[in-house]
């Protein structure tokens, strides 16, 4: 794991494998990384917003649990983004298949399940709150 982290920070080693591709491929890879990073930042922002804008919830500390979960998910998305960027860059240089990933599907499921839970909570409140 530390080896992988060291590699992210070592452009010389990254440049030593394979051939330098058309710079536009590298730029496209960089933009994909940035799109993922913004996804991570949006989750971090969502966590910070949840912590200060959600009203007190019926379950104690539920608001804090939601906020911390979103913040940690955002950090995980950012770390995965740089890892995927480095592996894609390497694959492009070596002319290999781009790395496959289950992460987008997992994240989409997590967001979908979270949204459904919130819909359930809102409906429950609307029915039970009267």
């Amino acid at each position: 794991m530390w080896e992988a982290i060291r590699r992210w920070f070592d452009p010389a080693e990254r440049g030593s494998v394979g051939e330098t591709p058309d710079y536009r491929f590298s730029l496209a890879n960089e933009r994909t990384f940035l799109a993922w990073l913004r996804t991570g930042l949006a989750l971090v922002g969502g966590g910070l917003a949840a912590a200060q804008f959600l009203p007190p919830l019926p379950m104690s500390h539920l608001r804090e649990v939601i906020a911390v979960a979103l913040l940690l998910l955002g950090a995980a998305v950012a770390i995965r983004a740089v890892d995927h960027w480095a592996r894609t860059e390497r694959a492009i240089r070596l002319g290999q298949e781009l790395p496959a990933s289950r992460f987008p599907a997992i994240l989409a499921l997590a967001v979908g399940v979270g949204a459904l839970l919130l819909v359930g909570a809102v409906l429950l409140r609307a029915v039970g709150g009267r």
Partner: protein
């Protein structure tokens, strides 16, 4: 046509992607500072840390993607920006946990 400029405007698109990312970082920073502003020293410290990370990312990311020729790619900027994002998230966790104490 002789300028060798990429007709797909990839360097320009990449520059805008970096600017969008900085804008998102700014929004996150504003939210964190708002959450931290309760008048106590811990909050001020965390707010200060957030602003420092924001400034570092601004300085780091602003030059990226400038110019229209074969642009600089890679380098250490991407992992460093990731590190900045992780630090922002962890400062956010500290802020939330502080509210519990």
């Amino acid at each position: 046509m002789s300028t060798g400029r990429d007709p797909g405007l990839q360097p320009e698109r990449t520059r805008l992607a970096w600017r969008r990312t900085l804008l998102t970082v700014t929004v996150v920073t504003v939210l964190a500072v708002r959450l931290a502003s309760t008048g106590d020293p811990t909050g001020a410290l965390i707010a200060g840390g957030t602003v420092v990370v924001w400034g570092a990312l601004l300085v780091l990311c602003w030059p990226r993607g400038t110019g229209t020729g074969p642009a600089r790619t890679g380098g250490r900027t991407l992992p460093l920006v990731t590190a900045g994002t992780v630090v922002l998230a962890l400062l956010g966790v500290l802020l939330v946990l502080r509210g519990l104490g």
